[in-house]
Assembly symmetry: C2
Homo-oligomer: 641 residues x 2
């Protein structure tokens, strides 16, 4: 941990994206996803599962009012993950335990959107929601509609399973974002008030618990950075330090008797500094690791940072799909063991890749090395974008690398895999998570420190760094060509990331290579022309991944490609790339030389082995993130070779 090397991302308000690839996606989020999600929160979308999110806040506000008036409030059952509207009393909480967070995530996305595109009507809607949230908060600061409505005595009694500290984390993230966007303090005050209660409740001489679903850790650090309130950092550190400590806190909650193995799902099986491997629920994992990185940086805790590095390396070298997906098993939406990366059974939750970006970004800021930004790019341009339909109206929760619709329908092992994007989910974490990431993409492009700047993502726009103005004209996604104008206020070291897929780059400035960056210094305004010489390439996978023996995928620039039935016919498993495949690229797709095995459906199952019969074909591939936009069909990322 070299403090002199550490860098910071830019504040979103100091960035202004203008990029031929990203403009459309950002405006889809602004014009489609955010309004659509607002309607979802209000249960106005026909045919979609009800959210009940705003309804819960209204019920909680009513409860708070009754308490203030000294009226009695009913008590409802409070020990489930999901409160079905048909099986619970009318006045009770409805939906998932973490339902509140949907509104917070939406508010966070709205905040980022407002920073770059002011919108009075949208801000009014947000203010209304915030006022509702504030009116639902108890006087002591507690704010979780499940427990407020159903049974206030039960607050903080099942940290492992029920998500009040998770909801707090999203509240704090939203509050910080909304303050940054509008300077309005209502939501921030509510978040701080809840944070104060949490700081009063948890600690060495107080409750020894910590969140079952992480995010509060990084949210508390964000609040600390914004307010300067040291106790928020201390509380985040406390949560991090307590996790996995013996005796296991989660055991004490419900008289559970375990050897801690059950807590792998929550990353609480071992003290975090002893963890070497990414395990358990993937979203929880990367949220925890992000919080660990934050605390390590703020407290200059090298041992903690070392754990982050070991875990990041484990993900990058052994648990990362070529598409930037993580969490290969549907059982617990979790990391599997090293090199277990099945293509068809993959879970690869959209949220997990978003969380991986959070983790990688923090690592990149602490220790600027291009491979962290490479992982961000891999996740962003593939699994994250795949999460949303091109029209912004449907979403993938799960992002497999191989889909056969017949199997999704008939094979229960693949029931988590959808062959078309869904309109909305009852458990709607992914769409608003996508919205908040894409609306804030500007702050993932450049990091800076006293000595200079790091261009990490080649997204076009204008970036106001402390010591320089950076203007990027980017055709990176289409052609790999980028023009960067840098106007420094003082002599600055400029770092331009050489993407991991780049075999040869033409850069108009003379540079040296350092930790994956092309590096040079300048004190005058310069314009650098870059050509990363994009072309389609066959990518092989480590042969320790048993699934991918004898297979290869195609990559062009930051995009992993895939093959769809619409373009190539049924039974994609019969397709082979030629070992020396020639590629053609046009209009956004790639044509590859290959062949198809000839099928013999009459021949029975087993025969003396013969060299397979085949016919030549041109295999048409499209970027992975665009799959499933033309109706239900087969899809494969890896083909035989």
């Amino acid at each position: 941990m070299d403090k002199n090397r550490m860098a910071n991302r830019l504040k979103l308000k100091n960035t202004e994206i203008d990029d031929p690839f990203w403009n459309g996606i950002i405006s889809t989020v602004r014009n489609e996803v955010i309004p659509y999600q607002y309607r979802a929160l209000k249960d106005e979308i026909e045919g979609a599962e009800k959210s009940r999110c705003l309804e819960n806040f209204k019920k909680a506000a009513l409860t708070v009012e009754k308490i203030r008036n000294g009226e009695e409030t009913p008590v409802y059952e409070c020990d489930k993950w999901f409160y079905d509207e048909n099986n619970s009393e009318k006045g009770a909480f409805k939906g998932w335990v973490f339902q509140d967070s949907d509104l917070y995530k939406w508010l966070e996305a709205v905040s980022y959107s407002l920073i770059n595109s002011p919108d009075i009507k949208l801000e009014e809607k947000a203010d209304e929601c915030i006022s509702l949230i504030c009116s639902a908060q108890l006087d002591n600061g507690y704010l979780d509609t499940l427990y407020i409505i159903n049974d206030r005595e039960k607050g903080f009694t099942n940290l492992r399973d029920y998500h009040e500290l998770y909801c707090f984390g999203h509240l704090a993230e939203a509050a910080a974002a909304y303050f940054e966007a509008t300077k309005k303090t209502a939501l921030l005050n509510a978040a701080c008030k809840f944070a104060d209660l949490i700081c009063d409740t948890f600690g060495k001489t107080k409750c020894l618990g910590y969140p079952g679903h992480e995010i509060a850790e990084m949210a508390l650090v964000r609040l600390y950075r914004l307010t300067g309130e040291r106790k928020y950092l201390d509380c985040a550190k406390f949560f991090i330090n307590q996790r996995g400590a013996k005796p296991f806190y989660f055991d004490s909650e419900r008289n559970r008797k375990t050897d801690g193995k059950d807590y792998i799902y929550n990353q609480a099986h071992l003290p975090v500094r002893q963890q070497n491997e990414a395990v358990g629920h993937a979203v929880r994992g990367v949220y925890l690791y992000s919080g660990m990185a934050d605390v390590a940086r703020e407290t200059e805790d090298k041992t903690l940072f070392d754990a982050c590095e070991r875990i990041f390396e484990n993900i990058e070298k052994k648990k990362l799909y070529i598409t930037g997906g993580i969490g290969s098993t549907s059982d617990g939406e979790a990391f599997s063991f090293d090199y277990d990366l099945p293509n068809d059974l993959a879970y690869c939750e959209t949220c997990a890749s978003i969380g991986l970006i959070f983790f990688a970004e923090r690592m990149l800021e602490i220790n600027p090395c291009s491979h962290y930004a490479d992982v961000i790019e891999r996740a962003l341009y593939n699994t994250v974008l795949s999460g949303m339909a091109e029209d912004g109206k449907s979403f993938f929760y799960v992002n497999p690398l191989e889909v056969n619709p017949v199997a999704c329908e008939l094979d229960s092992r693949k029931r988590h895999v959808k062959s078309v994007r869904q309109k909305w989910f009852g458990c709607a974490c992914c769409p608003p998570n996508l919205a908040r990431l894409i609306s804030s993409i500007g702050s993932y492009c450049i990091t800076e420190n006293e000595n200079g700047i790091f261009v990490n993502q080649y997204i076009g726009g204008k970036f106001a760094c402390k010591n320089a103005i950076v203007e990027i004209k980017s055709d990176y996604a289409a052609s790999g060509k980028v023009k960067i104008k840098i106007t420094p206020k003082k002599r600055s070291v400029i770092h331009l990331r050489i993407p991991y897929w780049c075999e040869r780059a033409e850069i108009s400035e003379k540079y040296r290579l350092e930790k994956g960056y092309a590096v040079f210094e300048t004190e005058r305004e310069i314009t650098v022309d870059i050509d990363f010489l994009v072309s389609p390439v066959l990518i092989g996978c480590s042969n320790l991944v048993s699934e991918n023996i004898g297979k290869a995928a195609v990559q062009r620039g930051p995009f992993i490609y895939c093959c769809e039935e619409k373009d190539n016919g049924k039974n994609l498993h019969l397709l082979y790339f030629n070992e020396k495949t020639n590629f053609e690229y046009k209009d956004g797709f790639v044509l590859a030389d290959g062949f198809r095995l000839i099928t013999d459906s009459e021949g029975g199952l087993y025969k003396k082995y013969e060299k397979p019969k085949k016919e030549k074909m041109k295999i048409k591939l499209i970027p992975y993130y665009r799959w499933g936009n033309r109706g239900e069909n087969e899809m494969r990322v890896y083909l035989n070779i």
Copy 2:
């Protein structure tokens, strides 16, 4: 259905096995498995899950005594699949709903064993058990310990889920077998008394139900054949005809409202004559299809037989593993869709392959074509034998084609796959099923009709057919060489099956080929020398099975081979056969020319594709059925090519 071609298997008492391969297996069953299972039924095996089977019969007998004495009997809960001993009252039924059948299957195995190897002490034990069973039967003939102990009012009220008609089926099979073995009638009388009650209860003007788990159908036909009691056949036919008829009987049982899709698991989604595909729980399926074949034969019902043929063809051509396993998904222990034959996730229950043998044997008798006997051979020499350890002391329930112990431990999708055989199961269907099949293997070797005989399985021994004595000296399993002496009583047509794997056979008699048999006629004693010219062969799989693209397996004679870590090191997925592999065979194993990919564990996951680096090796393979006898390790049937 040509009545003149139909044939019958020999009665077990007319067969006497003496075979260098099978003698050991049969004596293991006799000396190890049968005594071990008796101890299991009595809960005398330390460390194994309790069966509670005999205990339930004792409780039921006590209840019956109380009823006869006019005493009151308690009523216990009666609506679960499993009655945990810790969570139910002391006097109540314990274990699985189908627990009674374990004793019946054991008695059936004992019967077959007694036929070929009389054993007074064993017979005494069986008689004791039978006396206990008889004392547990209600005066009206009803006999199912769950309902007798817990709540007699509830009998026959949940045919879909609870297994009383299944238990009846196994009772009838055991009773017929024990009568054949000993001529003792006690158990047969009990079975007939229960059958009579069932005939009185079910029928067009009576209860319209049918078994949720099939077997009663074929058992009733067996009782009919033994006793000549026509109503048993009628009842079997009724069950077959009712299955899947609208309105769905299972709907009426519990006010279920379905479109019948839920009943795919029970093969009750459609009338059986409209079924074209093997679906649902695999064991249930093949037991049903066996019963359908029996009824089709006895009632000369061509439409029903046609359905059997379509379903058999569907299994053979689209749903059969190379090892003779069926039921490729653990979800519902069921058939999956066509060509979905995953190697690692395979279920392939031992019992399902045993049931497939029952089905194939019936088809073979109705329409003697070698491919039915081929399927029997494939299942018998591979999946069935794999079910039992070489010492007879542990068993596989699930028979995968690819095992990585790490995945079995850490990947919940593979939790059904065990990497070593288990001592005993709470749900102990497979070990006693294995015991009854292997003890009766003599009756699967030869079928006969008025015109002649069919030698279907080349197992050595003496076979007393109606019109001929057949003596087989067999080295089939080891070398493919067989000597058959036939002493006919009249001019007979002799059919010798040419196994499906045989590329060229040397047969000392002149023959013509007919439906897969070498056929000739004789009226004098002759000795035929056969050499099926066994040698290891690479077998390819239809490329419609996506799992096996670019892979091949090795077969030698009836045995499919596999590759174990003990012989070939870790990471078996790295092994390749040469396309023109040379084989060496010695001491029961096969050596194949191949190579291993060189691993690069430091290289990260993704790189520009390069032709894989490899090193030559000799791949050592052992027969599949012998895998897992040397401790936990990786195993694969299919390797790359």
